[in-house]
Symmetry: C2
Subunit: 128 residues, 2 copies
DNA sequence: AGTTGAGTTCTACAAAACGTAGAAGATCTG
DNA sequence: CAGATCTTCTACGTTTTGTAGAACTCAACT
């Protein structure tokens, strides 16, 4: 249960983008104005969704452990459980975890990172 | 289109395990004896599947670009397009690629690898 | 060359995940 | 308490995956 649908991902993106917890209504509004941006690359139109749709998605994301909500306040407020970076790193570990030969995977992985990132990695691994 | 179903994964595991290309029949047989292993952890029973089932899954994997087949030989022979390690590394890049702040993700990722793996990474990054 | 048998493709259906939302129930505000 | 707002329940359409029968293809055998 690791992958997300398109809408689920869009909602997570919004939650990750805004630092504050958001209500379903706020999210629906933001979803409606999803950058009718300049350069192509698809970019889903600003379609008006029903609030219940957003709520359903939020519930599913909550069940998946990606979102938590404040039940106290009346318009419940939703926020991501962990930052996008943490979540992505976790995902990477999940992917890596299922491999028998972890080091071989890492070797190939390292083989195709940019030089800048390689530098970052060196620093991170250095002090230890 | 990155995630696989349970059966699809089982088939890929077999293809990755055996170095030779395999026929649908061979795969079906191997699927039947999926380690009724010792320790729990589920471990799907050795269920006899129809060959057509295996063929359908193989076709889908082919469409996803994970498997290729020799059409020349009569019992077509199937094999993984890339090794499990390559594929996993690719997957990791896919996951990482969708993040805006790649370096931050890498930082967190590195934060939770074992010392042995960290050592491996240092070596790989070293010569440059 | 026609029959046979293994193999492949076509087609189909059930279950799960996801997108989408109406109807009904709960709660706050005035 | 009435009305507006919010949440939960329930439901249905679409896509993905598991599963397999029916029909078609092809090589070998007689």
């Amino acid at each position: 249960m690791a992958s997300l649908g398109e809408l689920e991902r869009a909602v997570m993106d919004l939650l990750w983008a805004g630092q504050e917890a958001a209500t379903a209504n706020t999210l629906r509004d933001r979803l409606a104005q999803t950058s009718a941006g300049q350069d192509g690359a698809a970019g889903h139109e600003g379609k008006e969704l029903a609030v219940t749709t957003v709520l359903t998605v939020l519930s599913r994301l909550e069940k998946k452990g990606l979102v938590e909500r404040e039940r106290g306040t009346r318009p419940h407020r939703y926020q991501a459980v962990s930052s996008r970076e943490d979540h992505t790193a976790e995902l990477m570990h999940e992917v890596l975890g299922s491999a028998p030969d972890r080091e071989a995977v890492l070797a190939r992985f390292i083989g195709s990172v940019s030089e800048g990132e390689a530098e970052t990695l060196r620093k991170l691994l250095g002090h230890l």
